[in-house]
């Protein structure tokens, strides 16, 4: 039988293990500059992470051949395009907040994101947007007196 695409792809634990080892190894390189007592726990934790990541990787290979050892293959994305869309939306939102201000960005982005991800009732969407953004303004401006990134038109 031909293996499926997901079976052919590397095991997620394998990728996680390699990534953890690489990052921990990089961070470990910074410990020689530290005073001895300051470096004890970071070194212990990073070596611990490298050792455990090695075990995680080893488990994937052993589970491949053994019936007793299990390394379940968990699904990472329910929908990869939607996930990438969400990340892009968050990035765009955060960038826009700095550029054009918090309330303007929120008022524009919330309905667009909700519409793009499947809620198509425009009237309710706009009403919810008005209540939500207005509610945030009441909380932050009136109740908390907190300054949020200023709107571009009043700078």
């Amino acid at each position: 039988m031909k293996p499926t695409a997901s079976k052919r792809a590397p095991h997620p634990d394998l990728i996680a293990g390699i990534a953890i080892m690489a990052v921990s190894g990089f961070l470990l390189l910074r410990t020689p500059d530290m005073p001895t007592m300051s470096s004890v726990l970071p070194i212990t934790m990073l070596i611990g992470l490298i050792g455990l990541a090695a075990l995680l990787i080893l488990r994937v290979f052993v589970a491949h051949r053994s019936e007793r050892m299990k390394a379940p293959r968990h699904r990472i994305f329910d929908s990869r395009p939607r996930f990438l869309g969400i990340i892009a939306s968050i990035g765009l939102y955060v960038g826009s907040v700095s550029l054009i201000g918090f309330y303007t960005t929120t008022a524009v982005m919330v309905p667009i994101v909700a519409w793009c991800f499947g809620y198509r009732d425009i009237k309710r969407l706009l009403l919810a947007d008005l209540i939500f953004t207005g509610g945030l303004a009441v909380i932050f401006v009136l109740l908390m007196g907190q300054d949020l990134p200023t709107e571009f038109f009043i700078r």
Partner: protein, 502 residues
């Protein structure tokens, strides 16, 4: 010892504090009712907004949300067989068949009364046990505190169940994150990469919001779930006060499940779902008609709901006295205490008795309020929450999370950091790395390090000082027990003769 408890009562009964509990309970029920949103997420989102509030108001809201969400999780479990929170899974076993038989309203009433009873029992145990335990912990020196921190971490890794290897990695990650920033003893900055914002270390709220609030919000937008809620709002319930007499026959189940829930809550890492399953099984075993269970037995709903609410306040017993949270929500609440400048531990009881005892009262009131707010009329209303569109909700939560984190220090750096933790949390969640050890690692890591170094300094660099006292030896024995117990039980299970299937 209990005098401070009475002294704290008037402040809790003030209008502002009481209103905070009411708002918290209502918000908690609504959030718990939404599948995919948990009490942990709700409290994480709330914490940044409480920054400027009076600590007691903030804690009242958290107590309300925690209690409300634990009950709220039963609404979709009963009406749609979709547990709103992980702890409500056992509720769906009998709740959903009851709803199919046209008794959905009664199932929710049993659930709300049982939740309230569990919550009340838990709050009373918290009030009775926490003050004496805090007195005992006052006797702890640096080496004992170090071992308590190690115990907390090992307990959460080994009692959490699931993958121990991944649990250990999560704990190591949490401890490592706790080390970022200025080393308070040597003055050396560790892993700040030149960012002055990191000198004070990673703000626990930033980590909590990233790990617990962002991944469920992403999931709301990512997953396309079409839930049929057309019948969810039509419950045909009678007044809850008329329904209560018919529930009095569950008193044994309430009592048994409350004890199980409280005990499970105190154990670090165990938590609501384990308590609910244990109680359900025990109640079924004690039942005269076990064959009816799973087919719409209200006692099943009573068992699981009493238990999953009985672990709410009890999870705070080790959290408030030792700084070791019993559940993920308790860990998040510890974060809430920390941002208000309240360091969990015995000193909290000495320095801020009005707040810590007021918090206990708020747990009790939140549990009592469940009956009033979650009663017949409210149950019909809260069922409407299920109709909220998921994409809109996801967009709202992401906005709240971002603005909440920004508002703590008024800087975008925290937002970027939170987004980083959010991504890590998303992948950890998908790869089944448990999240509670990360939070506990962050809370206990620096505590363990500081006390280890302090103990070594006091002992003149002799490592033997760590094991010299009897208390330390007892805690070490407990650590060994917690670490070895799962291994021993696994070996015993493997050696147990399998029943013949032929």
């Amino acid at each position: 010892m209990y005098g401070s408890l009475i002294d704290a009562l008037p402040a809790v009964l003030s209008l502002g504090n009481f209103a905070a509990v009411v708002i918290g309970v209502i918000a908690g029920i609504c959030i718990g009712a939404l599948p995919g949103l948990s009490a942990t997420m709700a409290v994480s989102v709330l914490i940044p907004f409480t920054f400027g509030m009076d600590p007691l108001i903030a804690l009242g809201m958290m107590a309300g949300i925690y209690n409300g969400a634990m009950y709220g999780g039963s609404i979709p479990a009963v009406l749609l067989r979709i547990p709103g929170t992980p702890a409500a899974v056992a509720t769906s076993f009998d709740g959903y068949p009851m709803a199919q038989q046209g008794k959905g309203g009664y199932a929710l009433q049993v659930s709300v009364v049982s939740s309230a009873i569990g919550g009340i029992a838990s709050a009373i145990v918290l009030m009775l046990l926490a003050p004496p335990l805090a007195k005992v912990t006052l006797l702890f020196g640096p080496s004992e505190v170090f071992w308590v921190a190690v115990f907390g971490l090992s307990a959460i890794v080994f009692l959490l169940g699931g993958d121990v290897l991944k649990g250990l990695m999560s704990a190591c990650f949490g401890v490592f994150v706790s080390l970022i920033g200025l080393d308070t003893i040597s003055g050396f900055d560790r892993y700040t990469f030149g960012h002055l914002e990191l000198l004070d270390g990673i703000n626990i709220v930033v980590l909590l919001v990233g790990l617990y609030a962002l991944p469920p919000a992403i999931a709301l937008l990512e997953e396309v779930i079409d839930v049929d809620t057309s019948t969810a709002g039509k419950l045909n319930t009678v007044s809850i006060w008329k329904a209560i007499p018919s529930m009095l026959r569950f008193w044994k189940t309430w009592l048994r499940s409350a004890v199980i829930g409280v005990f499970v809550g105190i154990l670090p890492g165990a938590g609501g779902s384990m308590g609910a399953f244990l109680s359900y099984n025990e109640a079924r075993r004690a039942s005269h008609n076990p064959d009816n269970w799973g087919k719409g037995e209200p006692e099943g709903v009573a068992a699981s709901e009493t238990s999953n609410n009985a672990d709410t306040a009890s999870a705070l017993i080790p959290a408030l006295t030792l700084g070791i949270p019993g559940t993920a929500v308790a860990a998040v609440m510890l974060g809430g205490l920390l941002i208000h400048g309240l360091q969990p531990g015995p000193m909290l009881f000495r320095d801020n008795p009005d707040i810590v005892f007021g918090f206990m009262w708020q747990f009790l009131f939140a549990a009592i309020l469940l009956i009033i707010l979650g009663g017949a009329l409210a149950t019909n209303s809260f069922a409407q929450v299920l109709r909220l569109p998921r994409p809109l909700l996801g967009a709202f939560i992401i906005t709240l999370v971002l603005v909440g984190v920004y508002s703590i220090n008024g800087r975008m750096f925290d937002v970027y950091l939170m987004l980083g933790f959010g991504l890590i949390g998303y992948f950890m969640d998908k790869l089944k790395f448990p999240l509670p050890p990360v939070v506990l690692g962050l809370i206990l890591g620096s505590l363990a390090e500081q006390n280890l170094r302090l103990a070594l300094r006091i002992g003149g660099g002799e490592w033997g000082v760590l094991t010299a006292s009897t208390t330390s030896q007892v805690i070490i024995a407990m650590i060994l027990l917690v670490v070895l117990m799962p291994l021993i039980s696994r070996v015993l299970r493997r050696n147990k003769p399998q029943p013949s299937t032929s």
